[in-house]
């Protein structure tokens, strides 16, 4: 008899499996990718301490620990439905239906697309696709690339592409329109980059950061933003140029780019074509939560967390009995935080399953505390307002589920 099914073998899912299994629960982890680790395996960046965060090594460590605890990990298996039947959850997968009283959904994040003419051409890919091709599969995505969209993930991956010897020719913004939203507004982009100024690779961004945090200075800054961009690790970041169209017949041949004013409006007659054989679109991340939605769990839109997220407590419970969530499905943050949340969920499941009193309570409390401290020390934070987003969710949980039914806050369904 299986106690727990974990959906997603990323840092959250693996850490959750390890924590549950350490209390003697029988755990199966399912993931549709070819190997465990989730988006962690593509990650490679230098911490402020100078140490390298090597996602492949971290994933191998988690995988090994899970195996030692006899966690059953199945890769190459997709989950397409999740529903409850009396006391058991049915997890419908590409290899049949699995059941367990507890399910942890840790399906992570997906990338927001920014559609523009020509974006369906072969050679156009999301920025994350380039990360996986480079660091996981070790295949060159191309000889000369252009990144459309400037955000923290784009810079992290720009750096990874450069490390692997791939030439990224320039970074431009998408054309300002309802589809690109803030990603097409130079001032908004500058604002979000300044929030990550400690990571900003360019000395100019770093120097200007305090000055540019003031709204009116920022406007002036954008007005005088150098036409040829500011170099980020040697690659020009062009906040006053927008991609209008990706061109090519059978595959990418280049990008049609126009100059913009400080508000992102196209300056007529300024169009130019830059050659490229690959294009990466960086639209940012959102929680990949469809499975939890089909299970009937209520959701809340919290932009600071990246979009619609399932209702959940700090112990990673959802309002549905036996259903837990952890990692980026609860809000967009870095891998270390996903891992800490997974550990919390794993202990919370052990507690719900009736594992020994005092020890589990203490470990669960420590795990909740650990999520907060890892968050405070995070080297990469995708949204500067993350704390406020997390607070909104915990207040929502308190008001909806905690007050009268503290002992048994989960709703029975099915």
């Amino acid at each position: 008899m299986r106690d727990v099914i974990v959906i997603g073998a990323g840092p959250a899912g693996l850490a959750g499996a390890i924590a549950s299994a350490s209390f003697g629960l029988k755990v199966t982890v399912i993931d549709e990718f070819i190997k465990p680790g989730g988006r962690l395996i593509g990650q490679l960046h230098q911490e402020p301490s100078g140490e390298w965060w090597n996602g492949i090594k971290e994933s191998e460590r988690l995988h090994q620990e899970a195996k030692t605890l006899s966690v059953d990990i199945r890769c190459g298996v997709s989950v397409y439905n999740l529903e409850k039947d009396d006391d058991l959850w049915n997890v419908h997968t590409s290899i049949g239906t699995l059941t367990a009283p507890y399910v942890l959904v840790a399906t992570g994040a997906a990338e927001y697309p920014i559609p523009l003419p020509g974006w369906t051409l072969p050679g156009v890919m999301s920025i994350g696709a380039a990360q996986v091709m480079t660091n996981v599969h070790r295949v060159e995505v191309g000889k000369k690339g252009i990144i459309i969209g400037a955000n923290i993930l784009a810079f992290a991956i720009l750096n990874e592409l450069q490390l692997a010897g791939i030439h990224v020719d320039r970074i431009v913004l998408p054309e300002k329109n309802p589809l690109s939203g803030k990603a097409g507004e130079p001032e908004e982009v500058m604002k979000s980059l300044l929030n990550a100024a400690h990571l900003a690779p360019s000395p100019l961004l770093r120097m200007g950061s305090r000055f540019m945090k003031n709204g009116s200075f920022r406007k002036i800054g954008m007005k005088f933003y150098p036409k040829n961009g500011v170099k980020v690790n040697g690659t020009p970041l062009l906040l006053r140029k927008a991609a209008i169209e990706i061109i090519g017949t059978e595959q990418v041949e280049g990008v049609r780019v126009a100059d913009t004013d400080e508000n992102g409006n196209i300056i007529p007659g300024s169009e130019k074509i830059y050659e490229a054989d690959f294009v990466c679109i960086a639209g940012g991340l959102y929680p990949l939560a469809e499975l939890v939605a089909v299970s009937g769990c209520p959701f809340q839109y919290i932009p600071e967390l990246g979009g619609h997220v399932p209702h959940h407590s700090e112990m990673m419970e959802t309002p549905l009995e036996g259903l837990f969530v952890a990692g980026n499905i609860t809000g967009i943050e870095s891998g270390k935080i996903a891992m800490a949340q997974g550990t919390t969920a794993g202990y919370a499941i052990a507690k719900h399953a009736g594992k020994d009193g005092a020890a589990i309570d203490k470990q669960l409390q420590e795990a909740v505390q650990n999520v907060r401290s890892v968050r405070e020390q995070a080297a990469i934070q995708f949204n500067p307002e993350i704390d406020s987003g997390r607070r909104k969710m915990s207040e929502l949980w308190e008001s909806l589920y905690s007050k009268n039914t503290r002992e048994n806050s989960q709703i029975k369904i099915g």
Binding site: I56, V132, V141
Partner: protein
């Protein structure tokens, strides 16, 4: 395109076994445990299919199973995601083809 053999942080790619497969009737080589999308790209192939209706070319987009842009036919099994499927020895892979749009043709004929 080529493989990234040497990497300053991730180290050197170890030697892996070559695995033959066919794509649209031509034989190529993948490495063991490589996805169809990665193996084809390493062989210089970006185009995985054409759009069923318009016939315009498509390649992988997200590379992690979310977008379905990379669907190909594998050993007669249609709509398989090339970015999540590992190449196996002598696998027969076909690109996605254009389908006749009967309704559109009927409208055009009127």
């Amino acid at each position: 395109m080529t493989r990234i053999i040497n990497h300053p942080i991730l180290g050197k790619l170890e030697d892996r076994k070559a695995v033959p497969f066919t794509f649209d009737g031509k034989t190529y080589e993948a490495f063991e445990n490589e996805t169809i999308a990665a193996a084809l790209l390493a062989n210089g192939i970006r185009k995985l299919r054409v759009h069923e209706d318009s016939g315009t070319p498509r390649g992988f987009y997200c590379n992690i199973g979310h977008c379905m842009e990379c669907r190909v036919t594998v050993n007669d099994h249609a709509n398989v995601r090339a970015c999540l499927t590992v190449v196996e020895k002598n696998m027969v892979i076909e690109s996605g083809k254009q389908h006749p749009n009967i309704v559109k043709r009927m409208v055009e004929q009127q």
